[in-house]
């Protein structure tokens, strides 16, 4: 952080640079999260989610979880977002096709969410967190993270591998059953075509 300050040649102390970066990343992620919710174009929604994920990765960096930030960028931005874009492509009729709930439902939902947010903020402000001095002596937290994953958290680690196996089987099943649906859809389309031909003849 000091090196960044010296590069910028600003007269700032070591504490304000992380604060500025925090507000930058938090602003990016919050603004693009609003974009995800408000945008009516689904491709633009996906791009807004990309910026939210990048902002959250920056927050991970500030929390000194560099490995997590890299994993976030690789898995989410590189994997999940590509998957979402493929889903958008496969289901695209019109990027602007809209179906909105009733205005009353929207008002009730937003009011409930604002109440939840107020409750969360009140809880955060009133909770008495133990102030803990940050441990900066750990040189290679990635090594410690790997040891924790295969030591303290071995059971969830193995369960995650089981979940991945099950999801792989499930995804293969979904992809396989699609073929039968296609045949049925083709048969249905042929039936309606022949019906129309009979009407016209």
């Amino acid at each position: 952080m000091n090196s960044i300050a010296s590069i910028l040649a600003l007269s700032v102390d070591a504490q304000t640079v992380p604060a500025v970066l925090f507000y930058l990343f938090a602003g990016i992620s919050a603004a693009s999260a609003l974009g995800v919710v408000l945008s009516r174009n689904i491709v633009r929604t996906a791009v807004c989610l990309l910026f939210t994920l990048v902002g959250v990765a920056g927050l991970y960096f500030l929390l000194e979880s560099e490995f997590l930030a890299a994993v976030q960028l690789v898995v989410y931005v590189g994997g999940t977002l590509i998957l979402i874009v493929f889903g958008v492509m496969l289901t695209s009729k019109s990027p602007f096709s809209r179906f909105e709930p009733k205005a009353g439902e929207v008002v009730v939902a937003i009011a409930a969410c604002i109440i939840l947010f107020a409750a969360l903020v009140m809880a955060i402000r009133s909770a008495d967190f133990r102030p803990q001095t940050l441990d900066t002596t750990q040189k290679y937290p990635v090594v410690a993270l790997g040891q924790a994953l295969l030591g303290d958290y071995l059971v969830p680690f193995e369960l995650a591998s089981v979940v991945l196996l099950v999801v792989m089987i499930g995804a293969a099943y979904l992809a396989k059953s699609r073929k039968r649906d296609d045949k049925r859809a083709v048969a249905r389309g042929a039936a309606t075509l022949s019906q129309k031909a009979r009407q016209w003849s």
């Binding site: 995800v36 939210t52 947010f117 993270l145 680690f157 995650a160 999801v167 649906d181």
Partner: protein, 103 residues
């Protein structure tokens, strides 16, 4: 107060979670609803990492964030497969088209 305290990160997590929740209940597009669940995941994982960093100073928060990432990736593949299948059935992404699932 410290310029960057735990509460700042918790506030960002709460903001992301509530924005995602608003999107989830007010939008009807299946893919947008799915993206909003991803937003809520982000809010939760920020909380996990910040608590692990500031309160316990151990790696529990980071480890469970990695598990959340795994579950989110698995959920993304299955959910998008299901969305594509649902789209082929009714030719629309409107969640209201599947009202009969309420039973």
């Amino acid at each position: 107060m410290d310029p960057l305290a735990l509460q700042h990160y918790l506030a960002v997590g709460a903001i992301l979670f509530v924005i995602g929740l608003i999107g989830f209940v007010t939008r009807r597009n299946l893919i947008v609803m799915f993206l909003c669940t991803e937003l809520m995941f982000q809010g939760v994982t920020i909380n996990l990492v910040a608590f692990g960093r500031y309160l316990n100073n151990d790696l529990g928060g980071q480890a469970f964030t990695i598990f959340v990432l795994v579950i989110a990736a698995a959920e993304a593949s299955l959910a998008l497969g299901l969305v594509v299948l649902l789209f082929r059935q009714k030719n629309t992404l409107d969640a209201d088209a599947w009202r009969e699932l309420k039973g």
